[in-house]
Subunit: 487 residues, 2 copies
């Protein structure tokens, strides 16, 4: 999951969306009378139940996640690991007998370098000492001079406070945006809202600080639970504003600097030596389980294959790719061939460019009518309670039988939303393609994603299988329905 696109979308969801319970539940009864559910052929319902049950007992998605994280590792766009992941997933899909092609995508190629920070002056310090600051560069931060830069730190708690300081008190300084991730909101289940609030400073901090003459911008990690974790992610630059080095520091280090800065001058030395290399060739994997009746009609199941480079991109987003792979694995194992094509797309470059999602959209611009639906999993693999549906109201009754199948696993909620539900599929959604995503429990996701601790051990095998069940039933159901979804 990247900076703010899907997070903001989901924020809007929680503000505006109404809940639509897919099965005959008290929630549904509270709604104004819903349209009657479309019925599906009994055979299809039986197949969907088999898919659901097979997903829950399969470890295929888990093994794929393990391979991507452990045997390959971090998969930042342009890296050898990202290339290896493309090759690996394509091979796995070919082994399942799918039609596989690689779609060329030119991606940014940013490479992390040294990154250290320390306080060189602060109240009370002993001669010849320092305090180490845990720091990580944001992508695509520019570098400091190789020996680093050193400047006083000014701490602000929001953009308004920065503006009030004005150029005189910001120029030549390092700005620290000390904005806390709202763990209370996260623990209520609205982690995306807490993330949106914090991430505004990660993505927008460098521009705001540079406009007032700052020499670098730091933000407090846009994540929850303080274990001295740096949280990386993307930072924006504007052509009209000087690009200054941008990095995140851990929550603890932000607290430390704020404490010391309240007592007197704090100076910080920052060394960041990342490199922005020329754009490089990479690929989306496009793997088709061809439809039997309408092979030209496509239902996309997707996640993103690239990841940030600090952890091994387990929750963000090996699990999403593995879930999509599991859908076609289960179809193969159960001998199910959908009427319409199920297309697995592990997108490239969701994190720092969205080039994969945009390229696919551009290449399919003349073929959008054949895109029946697009599903993306990019919010971890916590227990799912159903799925988000970015659809026209007329589509909802057709989704109810699918939700009923998922009701048995606690995932029977259909939540209609007015905004995109996945960054990579957002261009398709903007053009009217129905978009879907599992509704995952995100209470743990924001502790880990974009940090060194986003590793395979954070994946709960049962919850991953539950996500696969949601996406499999949704994808196969839509691909095998008598009618295609209205839009």
């Amino acid at each position: 999951m990247k900076c703010g696109m899907s997070a903001r979308g989901l924020l809007l969801i929680s503000l505006f969306a109404s809940v639509f319970a897919g099965s005959v539940s008290t929630l549904a009864q509270r709604q104004s009378v819903p349209a009657p559910a479309t019925t599906l052929p009994v055979e299809l319902l039986t197949d969907l139940a088999r898919l659901r049950d097979a997903a829950l007992s399969s470890d295929f998605a888990l093994r794929q996640t393990a391979f991507l994280c452990n045997n390959i590792g971090p998969r930042l766009s342009g890296s050898p690991q990202a290339a290896r992941a493309v090759e690996y997933v394509a091979g796995q899909m070919r082994d399942l007998g799918l039609d596989v092609r690689l779609e060329e995508v030119m991606v940014p190629h940013w490479v992390r370098g040294a990154e250290t920070a320390s306080l060189t002056r602060f109240p009370g310090m002993a001669q010849g000492t320092t305090q180490k600051i845990v720091v990580t560069a944001l992508g695509p931060s520019v570098a400091t001079p190789p020996e680093g830069l050193e400047a006083p730190v000014v701490v602000v708690s929001n953009f308004d406070a920065l503006k009030q300081l004005g150029e005189e008190r910001v120029k030549g300084r390092i700005v620290l945006f000390n904005v806390k991730f709202d763990e209370a909101i996260q623990d209520q289940g609205s982690g995306t809202e807490a993330y949106s609030q914090a991430v505004a400073y990660r993505s927008g901090g460098a521009i705001a600080a540079a406009r007032l003459g700052a020499v670098a911008a730091l933000n407090r990690s846009a994540g929850s639970t303080a274990f001295r974790k740096p949280h990386t992610g993307s930072v924006r630059y504007d052509d009209g504003v000087v690009k200054i080095p941008a990095a995140a520091i851990s929550a603890e280090d932000a607290e430390l600097i704020a404490y010391l800065a309240a007592q007197g001058e704090v100076r910080l030395r920052l060394v960041l030596t990342p490199q922005t290399l020329p754009d490089t060739l990479s690929h989306n994997v496009i793997a088709d389980l061809k439809g039997s009746e309408f092979p030209e009609q496509v239902v996309i199941v997707s996640g993103h294959l690239d990841s940030w480079d600090l952890g091994t991109g387990a929750l963000d987003d090996a699990v999403g790719v593995a879930t999509a792979m599991e859908v076609v694995n289960l179809c193969r194992r159960l001998g199910l061939r959908p009427k319409r094509t199920i297309r697995v797309i592990p997108y490239m470059n969701e994190e720092n460019g969205l080039r994969g999602g945009v390229t696919y959209f551009q290449n399919q611009r003349s073929n959008l009518a054949n895109h029946i639906a697009a599903i993306e999993s990019d919010l971890g693999a916590g227990h799912p309670t159903g799925f988000y549906a970015h659809v026209v109201p007329a589509a909802l009754p057709m989704l109810r039988p699918l939700a009923e199948v998922l009701h048995a696993t606690g995932a029977g909620i259909v939540r209609p939303v007015p905004n995109s539900v996945g960054a990579d599929i957002s261009p398709l959604e903007s053009a009217g393609v129905p978009g879907f995503a599992p509704i995952t429990d995100t209470r743990h996701y924001f502790k880990y994603h974009h940090t060194p601790a986003d590793t395979f051990d954070k994946v709960d095998p049962r919850h991953l299988a539950e996500n696969a069940a949601v996406v499999a039933v949704l994808a196969y159901g839509i691909a095998a329905m008598p009618q295609s979804l209205p839009r």
Copy 2:
């Protein structure tokens, strides 16, 4: 808290000790009839209640903790920060009007260097890639060659498994002790037991591995909650066994290596460049609030001033020092002068040598009879439920009135134990000096101590004040009692 000394003592406590409730509670009622409590003068009981209440509303200990962690920082023995901490605390005690002297202690001087690790070969790896391993050297690990060493990794789950492999399969290799910290036991409240189990491999791993010809020893972090945290601490070397580099890796990285090693060869490059410099002069601070009647008789309140160097030594053990400082601060503020001397000792070098505790004991060898009691706080500052009492049974009735004063804050339990309750005071205890320590809630302590995340923000102000109340009532009560404790 260091490797295993107090942890093992406390393990014995949990195995053998019986609970003795200090106040008239159901716990006490369940015991076989306890000896009647000694009564204390009403005036003294009133003073103790005033101390307790003043502790709960004071922020002195919190401010001292903040200064030690934030304005000074990590305080590894021999470092400039450790020297600064000695000078600072001595100054604070002088400001309170205490008699302060510095006791010379020669301490080990180990300095952390570069520390990096990466996998150079593993099943499935892409050409030209690696997996980064989060590593931290144990003190006083020897260094690798400056360019590092590279060898295959062999993973074992305990010492027996290592022995079974034998020299043939260990020689020339790096041994990883992949021993999980038992979070279930910790969450029940017995973190010290879980720590003892895991720490056996941290402290003893290098010797066991070197005996079979290994070139380095790694252990899985001896701490709970995986956020890619490395947990440092001490490693033992024997004169008769070759010293090999020893380091901890995060739980995630141990899982990763175990996963890959089950599939095929895993090679690791390890770079550790610590230096062991000549022993250096440091100090225990000894600050006396002189007794009015028996100034030669001493009740020690203590913690350790040194810390490991990854975090800022907040829970381990700035809080212990600050608690001891708070005791005399409160006595001053309330105008209380005890009959016997209350001696604040921030010990030096608990973590990697225990030189401070041993030096003090040696210097006081002829004066032990005047040491009435020794209290040490070195197990964090979680909510206290009472205090451990390493005393003869005849002393218990004299402690009950103190426990009754503490009952109001939920800290009324007196738990008699047969072993030392604090590393620094353990030499005194071995010689018969009654030893005491707060019984703290350790469910969070082992997530943080010895890691980069042991920082000031982890201190709960209310719980710290509760600890100060326990130590203040205990210290002043013992120092002001009509009789001294039997031994």
